[in-house]
Symmetry: C2
Subunit: 392 residues, 2 copies
């Protein structure tokens, strides 16, 4: 390594933390030879996530992306529909809209980094109209079928406002909670409700960089029991008769395996501890960096919300800081960081889609660096990141 | 259990066999905390499958279904195209045709249970015509873009004939080798070539019931290096820039994880032994049952082919044997069997698709029972299945 003479080890951005019973549970699955989509651990993990999120049913699947694809299908979104979705997010939140043949209309963010409810309301009021059969986008003539909200970096999107909009306009409300397992309201109209459980249907991710991981994996939850069952059915190639191989729809092979679920069960046991660790390291960054050297550490919603604080955002307030130069300088010191995602309305296949109220998204895209945030990031390593940043 | 008083244990149809280094390799992955889509074992497993199949490159993915979806996309099959495909197969072979917006045209099987090259040729000669831009189905007016061959139950489809047809008509040749890892030509024009490596692109499955398993998983191989690279790109959300999150296509999250690959590496070490075991148990069934009590044990291609003999087929020659009554009687004796799949042209969403030369497929669907075939099926348990069948 370039800096091995500094005796500095590599500090990754976000890696798994297997301090618990991961090896034990996974070995059990291997020794039992139940590693595929049969086996009891998938059901155990579904039940454990359902219990944690306070939902009647959770449906395990093989990625957050497949969870969102199932959510859109369960919501009945199809060819020619439009879905209001954020431009500031990972592209996997939006691609499933295309998988079902629908088109996203991009909406900008507010200071939570999540899609702006105010801009969404304005778009609906100024650009759309109710007609028999639904809400229509006047410019495109397409039916607007759903709002897809992403809880960016674990921050809670403005769900009371989105729920009111979905109700007023008769739209499905889909929550991409892939980054937000554990984020919840502590007061207000949704007190006690978890991100992902407030709209019609929500999806979590257990990808390797998420707050808990199954290697790859996801989970769908829904307030409509029939939507959850439909999602489960679609995830198993829509097999309607186990013995005769009758399939009553075009399904997918989106099931989670027993091996993934074994890992997930061990991880879920540690989730609240991981969240406490995320809070501690975020506070360390906040205290040391906020307002110093032209930096801000972006806040998570604190008023009536307990966030999981999954991913930390350093905002470069001072224009003398160039994002990519800084990322390269940190990399040279064996510290892994990244910019926020390139906005989706600027990506190759989405350049022709309508996009609305983009100012803040453009600014945050240009000025955010995500800092190391693993749940095993030590106080000392966090301090090394801080010291390095203060010296830049 | 109903028959526990018989002291008879349950004999499953096809379950994983972890007699090798599965626990060791999986534990290594867990202890290293490399369980997600990063980590060295995915590349190791890709290289090991490439070496085993004699291909320059193999692309790991999260299921055989996703492997076929990637294969169709890599082949450029898209909306409005038609693909010639078998009706006697698992529906996951055909659904990916719909995923890309194309339609299957169903072709019946020959006595290998695989799609009939003769019927395929007849369909092309009598129902299709070459026009500028490709081959067109005269009845539907659609472009016929590809032949999708499935190596059913590990038996080799008639690849010299299919390769000649694909060449003559300018069609892509896609091999669903999900059931046929290890099946290969030993003489003839393709001597030494594995199932899956003869057409333009092929896919393997490592589902829990397959000859080797990764829990869930798949692998794509292609004779076009650019197709393989494109498939890899599409499997990683088409991320064109790792740091800036630029995505130049609509991609998917179809990656295999390091944990799955760890399992696959241990399984691949045992594959040739598993095939030898499959041969031995098939021979035991063949010797004991073929021609007795109105039974036949269907052959695998033997002339110039080494089959993996993945799944065994008991054919009920005598009409006094009713398939489903027999399956129920075997189940009551704790022996798991199944019929061949319901034909796909008879399934809910495919009833309106064109289907051609179906006689043999209808007959095999009605008269086949698949017998226990796990790679840890003992000679004694196999004999118990035989004795039970001879007493029916």
């Amino acid at each position: 390594m370039a800096n091995s003479n500094n005796n500095e080890h590599f500090i990754p951005l976000s890696v798994p933390n297997f301090a618990g019973r991961e090896k034990e549970y996974v070995s059990e699955a291997v020794v039992s030879e139940w590693v595929s989509t049969g086996g009891s651990k998938v059901t155990e993990f579904e039940n454990a996530v359902a219990a944690y999120t306070g939902m009647p049913r959770a449906v395990a699947c093989n990625s957050g992306t497949s969870g969102l694809h199932l959510a859109l299908m369960a919501a009945g979104i199809g060819r020619g529909d439009e879905v209001l979705a954020p431009t500031l997010t990972f592209i996997a939140a939006v691609n499933p809209i295309r998988y079902v043949g629908a088109e996203p209309v991009f909406i900008g963010c507010d200071d939570s980094l999540c899609m702006s409810p105010a801009a969404t309301q304005e778009f609906l009021r100024t650009r759309c109209e109710k007609r028999p059969g639904g809400v229509y986008n006047r410019a495109s003539g397409a039916r607007v079928a759903a709002i897809l909200v992403v809880h960016v970096f674990g921050n809670m999107a403005g769900m009371p406002a989105f729920a009111a909009l979905a109700n007023e306009w008769g739209l499905a409300l889909i929550e991409d909670a892939t980054e937000a397992l554990g984020t919840k309201y502590t007061s207000g109209p949704f007190a006690g409700k978890m991100a992902g459980t407030i709209g019609d249907v929500g999806a979590y991710s257990f990808n390797g960089n998420k707050i808990i991981t199954t290697g790859a994996g996801g989970m769908l939850v829904s307030n409509h029991p029939d939507w959850a069952e439909h999602a489960k059915h679609l995830s198993t190639q829509a097999k309607a008769d186990e013995l005769q191989f009758l399939h009553d729809e075009i399904g997918y092979n989106y099931r989670m395996t027993n091996l993934q679920a074994a890992l997930g069960l061990a991880q879920l046991e540690q989730l609240e501890g991981f969240i406490a660790h995320k809070h501690a390291r975020w506070q360390q960054y906040k205290t040391a960096l906020d307002g110093k050297n032209g930096y801000r550490i972006l806040d998570f919603q604190e008023d009536g919300v307990r966030s999981n604080k999954w991913f930390y955002s350093l905002y470069l307030e001072d224009p003398r800081h160039d994002r990519d130069t800084m990322i390269a300088a940190l990399k040279a010191r064996d510290i892994q960081t990244r910019p926020v995602w390139a906005l989706i309305h600027e990506q190759a296949d989405y350049g022709k889609n309508e996009a609305y109220a983009l100012e803040k998204a453009l600014d945050y895209r240009a000025r955010i660096i995500n800092l190391p945030c693993s749940t095993n990031l030590s106080e000392e390593d966090c301090q090394r990141v801080i010291d390095t940043l203060l010296a830049l």
